[in-house]
Symmetry: C2
């Protein structure tokens, strides 16, 4: 098992990477098949409904990548404030690099398609909800109330999405750094 991934996964990974960079409409199928090396016929064999179906799989792939990253940091760092700060600092460092290929994980696709493709909108909504569940679980297990945990998880998600947007737009990790530094304020136990 050296380099042998199946065509389906190869396509999903290429699509996930490209959609993060330029969004749904900014990437054509031709670019995805070129990047992945999989011919167009195979794409339509695995994703008969075409681009929209591939995009939904790409969104789910990106969602799982982010879940893994969050879980890894949360298992390593017990304190919820420190853990979330570490997560955001990591993001700021990646974006600080000159030619990162991060983009907003799914924010771009979500904002392009919220009014045009209901299946894509729902896939994005589920991703946001799953991430928020992880934040919430971490907070509850650290003694925060159900209500505050839920609210803070929304705030943290919004701060990360907004922070990534500001950081990629300004080509600087600074906005995310400032956000990480202010995290303790949000997490005052009530």
């Amino acid at each position: 098992m050296v380099d042998k991934k199946n065509s389906r996964d190869t396509l999903i990974e290429a699509a996930s990477r490209l959609f993060r960079l330029r969004g749904y409409y900014g990437v054509g199928l031709n670019e995805i098949i070129e990047e992945s090396g999989i011919p167009k016929g195979s794409l339509y064999y695995y994703f008969p409904k075409g681009k929209e179906e591939l995009a939904i799989e790409a969104i789910n792939h990106t969602k799982e990548m982010v879940i893994s990253k969050i879980q890894e940091v949360f298992e390593r760092i017990e304190d919820p404030i420190e853990a979330m700060q570490a997560l955001i600092y990591q993001l700021s460092e990646v974006i600080g690099e000159s030619d990162h290929k991060l983009g907003m994980p799914i924010g771009t696709i979500a904002s392009e398609n919220y009014s045009t493709s209901e299946p894509i909108r729902i896939a994005c909504q589920l991703a946001f909800e799953d991430w928020q569940s992880l934040y919430k679980k971490k907070l509850i297990s650290s003694g925060y109330s159900e209500k505050q945990s839920k609210e803070v998880s929304i705030i943290v998600n919004a701060l990360i999405e907004g922070g990534i947007l500001l950081s990629i737009t300004s080509k600087s990790g600074k906005p995310l750094q400032v956000i990480a530094e202010q995290m303790p304020l949000l997490l005052i136990k009530k």
Copy 2:
């Protein structure tokens, strides 16, 4: 002066509206000329460099619309916490409406183009900076320190952008409402 706007402004307004809905790559020039009623020849007369040039003008137009809205609320409400809460509540109400045409004001274009068009990226960056300047000015005039005002203005901007994204994706004003409610925590004077 009843209904007579010049072709240039009509094009910019139509482009601004459509780009907010589906982003830069999600909207074609054909749709913009159809929506505006201005023929393609005129578009290239006013914007010789084509779509990118029109997009930059549309971004600046959207920027000014947002500036007006912020200034209006800030002049009406003196307390900075209450003012920012009012701003965000207003947003949540608009998005709660079934067929709003809000979208992320410029976040979608920014995230699509941060790696592909430097002129567009810079126009978006300037918009974010201008909005943050208004938040900062409000805070300073209410007695917050220079440092805290600057940092909070970034947080507020990130929260609004992220909150709009979560609200349009979930088709609910709830995320923005939660954000508005938690504003006081961020604005504890240090």
